[in-house]
């Protein structure tokens, strides 16, 4: 007891004397229109309903622009344009020439990277450091990587005569707007398909800027069509009879609806759904590194990450130390203006998502877990949530079972390897897992035992175009990235 008090006295006090001068990224070079229409057949066209909806900056609650709401008719128009482009141009083009268009898109994104990064942070609330250093470069790299595959498919699938599927309908989430567009478009185009893409309704702007860029690249009209809207637009795309393939990233709930909707059709489907990843810290792990990994695992992108390390398992012998270090580290996280280069944690993506997160925090408290949050101040306007953690969580708590999609960490402890394998796998999800230990033989064992599509050892939240990503179980099926990411867009003899 005395020891604890002493430690509390010695705990680092970061709220005093540690203020950073604001370092906001300039926005004056960003070119945004007041209103965006639908990108169909190489042109921006008004929606048939004439309806537009606002997209809001979650850090200020100000409207940034209006975007079109695509109805059934518009989706049909987009699918027809995609079909025509597939039949007449794209499927006939030599693969190496197809690849050169995709290389062009990669280069254009690199050239305009900063503008995209700023818009991504304005529209979605993520810190500029993340959009600048992660989202946008990775998006460009995905196009660059898959561009090279276009004329090499027979090496990826020897003796199988790979052919494109046709028209792909793609629906993407709001947590990594441009990056998810790249994950979807790049492999689809490289394999010779044409596309109708629907970005999320709260973060449509970088996809629409990408439409401008694709137009500038000279890509034949209709090869890529981008339609904005909410759930109804997505439903129209999924149920359109002339779409050959659906690629969806989003919640498990909607994923299941899509799987039901395409039952009995010939549509190919890939689903990248929710997760509740176990991040496992063994007593022999380098603890300071592990603490950084925990922070990166759950507070990266405000926890709006399907593979977030939201369930932390710490070996009992080091649990006290890890939680103390983690709480100290939480105090140093800078929460605020997403456009400020010092910011670690930005704004919650929308008012709706903020309510979901707050409901879960209240639930965690009422379930009896011990609540802790960073003492940081929050801005007045906008949607914000402090980095939060719960200790004393048990397997039966809903905060340990359900995906919260926010900066909320549930901490449990374990004693043996066998025990933590059971606990970690005891979830309907299986997207990712983290393992922290100094012992390689333990890493490879845990890696094999985890029922999850991605395992990070002594690191977390790492992404690369060459590395396949996707889930086991109710986290979906199919992989994006790498050689395996080509297969969902191909048919074989």
């Amino acid at each position: 007891m005395l020891k604890n008090k002493e430690q509390e006295r010695l705990a680092l006090e970061f709220s005093q004397g540690w203020s950073y001068a604001p370092a906001p990224e300039s926005t004056d070079h960003v070119q945004l229109q007041e209103r965006y229409s639908l990108f169909i057949d190489g042109k921006f066209v008004a929606p048939s309903s004439k309806k537009y909806f606002p997209t809001v900056n979650p850090a200020t609650e100000q409207v940034i622009a209006e975007v079109a709401e695509a109805g059934k008719k518009d989706v049909d128009k987009a699918v027809k344009a995609a079909r025509k482009a597939y039949d007449e141009v794209w499927s006939k083009m030599p693969a190496s020439e197809r690849g050169k268009y995709i290389f062009r898109i990669a280069r254009l994104i690199q050239e305009r990277a900063r503008e995209f990064a700023v818009i991504e942070s304005m529209d979605g609330g993520k810190p500029i450091r993340e959009s600048r250093d992660v989202d946008i470069p990775l998006a460009a790299n995905h196009f660059f990587y898959y561009a090279g595959w276009a004329d090499k498919l027979s090496y990826a699938f020897p003796n199988r005569r790979p052919r494109p599927v046709g028209v792909a309908g793609q629906i993407i989430p709001w947590n990594f707007p441009l990056l998810m567009a790249a994950w979807k478009l790049a492999p689809a185009l490289a394999t010779g398909n044409t596309v109708v893409l629907k970005p999320a309704e709260t973060t449509p702007l970088t996809a629409l800027k990408l439409a401008e860029l694709i137009r500038d690249s000279g890509l034949p009209p209709g090869v890529v069509n981008i339609v904005t809207g909410a759930g109804a637009t997505g439903a129209a795309l999924v149920s359109h009879p002339d779409v050959d393939k659906i690629a969806f990233t989003g919640s498990t709930e909607v994923g299941k609806m899509i799987q039901r909707a395409v039952a009995g059709t010939n549509k190919k489907v890939t689903l990248e759904l929710g997760g509740k990843a176990a991040n496992i810290i063994f007593e022999d792990a380098p603890l300071d590194q592990a603490v950084e990994g925990i922070v990166n695992g759950i507070y990266f992108n405000q926890g709006h990450v399907c593979c977030a390390g939201s369930r932390l398992f710490v070996q009992e012998s080091v649990a006290h130390t890890v939680v103390r270090k983690l709480k100290d580290r939480l105090k140093t996280l800078i929460v605020g203006d997403p456009l400020d280069k010092n910011t670690d944690v930005g704004a919650i993506n929308s008012a709706g998502q903020l309510k979901t997160i707050r409901d879960y925090i209240a639930l965690g408290k009422s379930e009896g877990a011990e609540f802790y949050e960073s003492p940081c101040a929050l801005p007045q306007a906008g949607y914000w949530c402090r980095p939060t953690l719960f200790t004393g969580v048990s397997q039966s708590h809903r905060i340990a079972q359900e995906e919260i999609f926010g900066p909320v960490l549930s901490i449990q402890t374990f004693r043996t390897v066998s025990e933590v394998i059971d606990k970690a796998n005891n979830t309907p999800y299986g997207l990712s897992a983290g393992i922290w230990t100094d012992k390689g033989s333990k890493i490879f064992n845990l890696g094999q035992q985890m029922r999850a599509g991605v395992v990070w050892a002594n690191t977390y939240n790492k992404f690369d175009p060459t590395s396949p990503f996707g889930g086991y179980k109710e986290s979906g099926f199919g992989r994006e990235g790498g050689l395996q990411g080509l297969a969902p867009y191909l048919q074989f003899d």
Binding site: G148, Y155, I421, F444, N445, R451, T466
Partner: protein
């Protein structure tokens, strides 16, 4: 009075710089009509040694770059080469091509660079393996570059042939000492200028011009060259090369019978020609869960 054109001095390319041959010698390749194409460096054994030293020094940096970055740089070479199409066409025409054939050769060269740019971060994925050994080990085999690769570039196909032998070695992370076509050397030095301005670090590619009869024995015998790609023909030369290569167990690839002008004269196996295979074993601790199994 019409303007007097300024003529280009063709020098060799070592360590990112354009020196003249240390020997001070020159030779004059000729076009079909017997006109001189210019004074080219007749490189010596010492030039070769200098080039190998420069290449070896560049190897750690180039081979440890991310594959993706090497891909970007190969793509950059293609971009810069495309921009200098006219110059290469003019040189190919001077060396005896028709304008039409020359244009096609330059375009093919650019596309071939783009092709290998794409392979940089893919050949490992296609060809490496995780090996299911019977014991409790994680066992995997990956490809690594051999090191300093000497390329005796094709004699006739002086641009696309050169690029077709060079690009796979670079894509795989090797560094290169290249002997240009003896009779058609112009494009090789202009290509060196392209490389120098395309983010290719100095020393990664070194280009010599001169007589193969003089230099070939030294390419074969040099103790710090790991592999030789021979892009020409001649049974006697090949045997001498293979015999000399035994000195330090060089790997020799013979590519003299390829027609590099064919659109499909490229494949990833040319990358593997200059790769070693490395296999790593790592133990796996065997502890299971209580078979929750879901």
């Amino acid at each position: 009075m019409s303007r007097i054109p300024v003529l280009k001095t063709y020098k060799i390319y070592i360590g990112g710089k354009f020196p003249r041959t240390e020997s001070g010698r020159f030779y004059q390749p000729e076009d079909a009509k017997g006109n001189s194409l210019g004074n080219l460096c007749r490189s010596s054994r010492k030039d070769l040694r200098n080039a190998v030293v420069a290449a070896r020094a560049a190897f750690p940096g180039w081979s440890s770059r991310p594959a993706f970055n090497r891909g970007q740089i190969l793509y950059r070479i293609a971009e810069v080469l495309e921009g200098r199409t006219d110059q290469f066409v003019a040189e190919l025409v001077a060396q005896g091509s028709t304008a039409k054939a020359a244009t096609k050769e330059v375009e093919l060269s650019v596309d071939r660079l783009v092709y290998y740019a794409g392979w940089c971060d893919k050949y490992q994925q296609v060809f490496s393996a995780v090996n299911p050994v019977a014991s409790n080990h994680f066992n995997f085999s990956i490809y690594e570059p051999m090191g300093v690769v000497a390329i005796v570039a094709p004699e006739e196909s002086s641009l696309v042939g050169l690029i077709s032998t060079l690009a796979p070695a670079l894509a795989g992370g090797n560094v290169v000492v290249l002997l240009a076509s003896q009779s058609k050397p112009l494009c090789s030095i202009t290509l060196a200028e392209v490389l120098q301005t395309s983010d290719v670090p100095g020393g990664v590619v070194n280009v010599l011009t001169g007589f193969d009869s003089e230099l070939l024995p030294h390419f074969a015998g040099h103790m710090d060259i790991n592999a030789v790609i021979y892009g020409r023909q001649g049974a006697d030369q090949i045997e001498a090369l293979q015999r000399g290569a035994a000195e330090n167990v060089k790997r020799v690839s013979l590519l003299g019978d390829r027609n590099w002008l064919e659109a499909e004269a490229h494949d990833p196996y040319l990358i593997l020609n200059t790769q070693e295979v490395k296999t790593t074993w790592h133990p796996i601790e065997k502890v299971g869960g209580s078979a929750s199994g879901y």
